[in-house]
C-alpha cells in the first residue's frame, strides 16, 4: 500500500489544553485506507483526544491532520463510536439509527429500508421499535455501531467501545465488528487499553506512552482475516500479546526514566 492511498496522515500532532497540560506531543502516524489500526495505551495517554481531533471535534495545537479527500470528512465521511452507546433515550432503535441520515435530510420513509436492513445486520432484527432502556449494554452498543454505519462512512473511529461490556459480549462484538469492517471496506481506527483486544482485531497496533502521549512503538499483526476463536487460543496469539505487552511496559518505563 503506498502512501498516496493513505486515509489518515498525522504529522507531529500535539495538543496542549487551556490549563497548560500537554496531552499529546508530536504524534506522527499514517493509516492506510481500508486497514484496521488499533491505538493502544494506558489511561490518560491522550488517545481519546487524538481520536477526537481526527474526527474534527477538537483541533491540534501543533502539527497537522490530513484525511483522504480533504481536511474533514472526505467524500465518504467519518463516523464515531463512543465508549458509551450514546443513544437518544427518547427515541426508538429505528430513530437512533436513522439519525445521521435524518440530519443529512433523508425522510423516515426514504430511509426506512436501509435503516431496517442495518438493524438486522447488527443482529437486532425485531427491535426497531424498542427504546434504549429496554436493551442490554451489548444491544445498545450494536445500535450505536449501526448508527455509525448508517451514513456509509469511509472512516470509522472507535473509542474503547467495548470496554464496559462483559467478556462474552465483547468477544462476540469483536467478531461482528471485524465482519462489518471487511464487508464494507472501511478504514477502522480502534482505540483501546486492552492488549488482547488490540491483537485480536487489528493489523497494526500503534503503542502510545503515558502523558504526554507520543507514539513509542508499532507492532504489526499479520494474522490473516477472517480471524476466529481459534486465533485467540493459538500460541501465536499468546506470543503476539506478550510482545505487545512488553512494548507497552517499555513505553511506561521509558517515560518514567
Amino acid at each position: 500500500m503506498d502512501a498516496t492511498r493513505s486515509a489518515i496522515e498525522l504529522d507531529r500532532v500535539g495538543k496542549r489544553f487551556a490549563g497548560g497540560t500537554l496531552a499529546l506531543a508530536g504524534v506522527s502516524l499514517s493509516v492506510t485506507s481500508g486497514s484496521f489500526v488499533a491505538i493502544l495505551g494506558p489511561s490518560g495517554c491522550g488517545k481519546s483526544t487524538l481520536l477526537r481531533m481526527i474526527a474534527g471535534l477538537d483541533t491540534p495545537s501543533e502539527g497537522s491532520i490530513r484525511l483522504a479527500g480533504g481536511q474533514r470528512g472526505g467524500d465518504r465521511g467519518v463516523s464515531f463510536v463512543f465508549q458509551e452507546p450514546t443513544l437518544m433515550p427518547w427515541g426508538t432503535v429505528f430513530e437512533n439509527v436513522w439519525l445521521p441520515l435524518r440530519l443529512a435530510g433523508r425522510s423516515r420513509a426514504a430511509a426506512r429500508d436501509e435503516v431496517e436492513a442495518l438493524i438486522g445486520a447488527v443482529g437486532l432484527a425485531g427491535f426497531a421499535d424498542a427504546l434504549p432502556r429496554e436493551l442490554s449494554g451489548g444491544m445498545k452498543m450494536r445500535v450505536s455501531i449501526a448508527r455509525a454505519l448508517a451514513p456509509h462512512p469511509g472512516l470509522l473511529l472507535m473509542d474503547e467501545p467495548f470496554a464496559a461490556l462483559d467478556e462474552i459480549t465483547r468477544n462476540r462484538l469483536n467478531d461482528d465488528l471485524l465482519h462489518w469492517w471487511r464487508e464494507r471496506g472501511l478504514t477502522a481506527l480502534f482505540v483501546t487499553h486492552s492488549v488482547f483486544e488490540a491483537v485480536y482485531l487489528s493489523e497494526r497496533i500503534a503503542v502510545m506512552g503515558p502523558r504526554p502521549g507520543r507514539l513509542v512503538a508499532e507492532v504489526a499483526i499479520d494474522e490473516p482475516y477472517p480471524r476466529t476463536e481459534a486465533f485467540r487460543s493459538s500460541p501465536r496469539y499468546t506470543l503476539l500479546c506478550s510482545a505487545v505487552s512488553k512494548a507497552l511496559r517499555d513505553a511506561q518505563q521509558g517515560e518514567a526514566d
Partner: protein
C-alpha cells in the same frame, strides 16, 4: 401487598387515610364541643360550601383563570428566556441577577407596588402570580438545555446538524424532563402566587377570587365560610399536582428515569 404492583392500592390507601382523618376531625369537634368560630366541623364546612356554591364557584373560576394564565405565561416566557440564556452566556450573565432578585423578593411586598404601576387589578394579580411561578421554569429549563449528553452533542456536530435540527432533535428532548419538573413546581406556586397576591392587592367586588372570599369571611367572622373557601384552594392545589403528574407521565413515562416504574426494569 406491594403498592408498586397494584396501582389501585396507590389510590385507595391515601383516600382511606384522608377519610379517616376527616372523621376524626368531626368526632373531635363534636365530643370536645369546639365552637364553630374556632374550628368548624367538616360537616359544617361542607354544608357552608354547598349553601354558598354560587358565589364561591365564581370566585374559584377567577382564581383558576389567574393561576393558569400565570402558569401559561411562565411556561412560555420561561422557555423563551431559557433558550436565550442557553444560546448566549453573555445574555445569561447579564440577565440572571434580575431573575434572582425577582425570585427572592417576597410577593407580599411587591404586590402593592405593582398595583401602583398597573391600572387593572386583574393584570396586577396575573403579574404577581407569574413572578412567583416563572423562576423554577426558567432555571430548570436552562439546566435542561445544558444537560444534553456531551457525546450526543459531538455526534450532532460530527454529522453537521443545523442549529434548528440541534434544537429540535437534541436540545428540546434533553430539556423536556427538566422543563416538566420546573412546570410541576410552577403549577403549585402559581396558585399560591395568585392567592397571596390577591390578599395584598385584590379589590373586593367584581373579579374576585378565593382569596377575597377568605378575607371577606374573615372580616365578617364567618369562619365556616373561610374554611369552605380554603377547601377549594386546597382542592385546586391537589388537582394541579395530579394534572402535572399525569402530564409528566404521558410525556416522559416511556423513556425517562424520573417516571420509571421500578417493576418494569428488565
Amino acid at each position: 401487598m406491594n403498592p408498586r404492583r397494584f396501582p389501585s392500592v396507590r389510590v385507595i390507601v391515601p383516600t382511606l387515610v384522608f377519610v379517616a382523618a376527616l372523621l376524626g376531625w368531626e368526632a373531635m369537634v363534636r365530643i370536645a364541643q369546639v365552637p364553630h368560630y374556632i374550628l368548624p366541623a367538616p360537616s359544617l364546612v361542607l354544608a357552608t360550601l354547598w349553601q354558598n356554591l354560587d358565589s364561591l364557584a365564581q370566585s374559584w373560576w377567577f382564581t383558576l383563570k389567574i393561576t393558569f394564565g400565570a402558569l401559561l405565561l411562565s411556561a412560555v416566557l420561561g422557555v423563551a428566556l431559557a433558550a436565550l440564556f442557553a444560546m448566549s452566556r453573555w445574555v445569561e450573565l447579564s440577565l440572571f441577577p434580575f431573575a434572582i432578585v425577582l425570585q427572592v423578593t417576597p410577593i407580599v411586598a411587591i404586590a402593592p407596588l405593582i398595583l401602583i404601576y398597573v391600572d387593572s387589578t386583574t393584570a396586577a394579580l396575573l403579574i404577581c402570580a407569574w413572578i412567583v411561578a416563572f423562576f423554577p421554569v426558567l432555571s430548570n429549563t436552562v439546566i435542561g438545555l445544558r444537560s444534553a449528553d456531551p457525546n450526543l452533542r459531538d455526534l450532532f456536530t460530527l454529522y453537521r446538524a443545523t442549529r434548528w435540527q440541534r434544537l429540535r432533535l437534541l436540545l428540546v428532548p434533553s430539556a423536556l424532563p427538566y422543563f416538566i419538573a420546573g412546570l410541576k413546581i410552577a403549577g403549585g406556586l402559581s396558585l399560591i402566587g395568585a392567592v397571596v397576591a390577591e390578599f395584598t392587592a385584590g379589590a373586593a367586588g367584581r373579579e374576585t377570587g378565593l382569596a377575597s372570599r377568605i378575607l371577606e369571611a374573615s372580616f365578617r367572622t364567618e369562619v365556616p365560610k373561610m374554611f369552605a373557601a380554603l377547601l377549594l384552594v386546597s382542592l385546586t392545589g391537589v388537582a394541579i399536582f395530579l394534572l402535572f403528574n399525569l402530564l409528566a407521565r404521558s410525556l416522559l413515562g416511556r423513556w425517562h428515569e424520573s417516571e420509571e416504574d421500578p417493576g418494569r426494569r428488565s
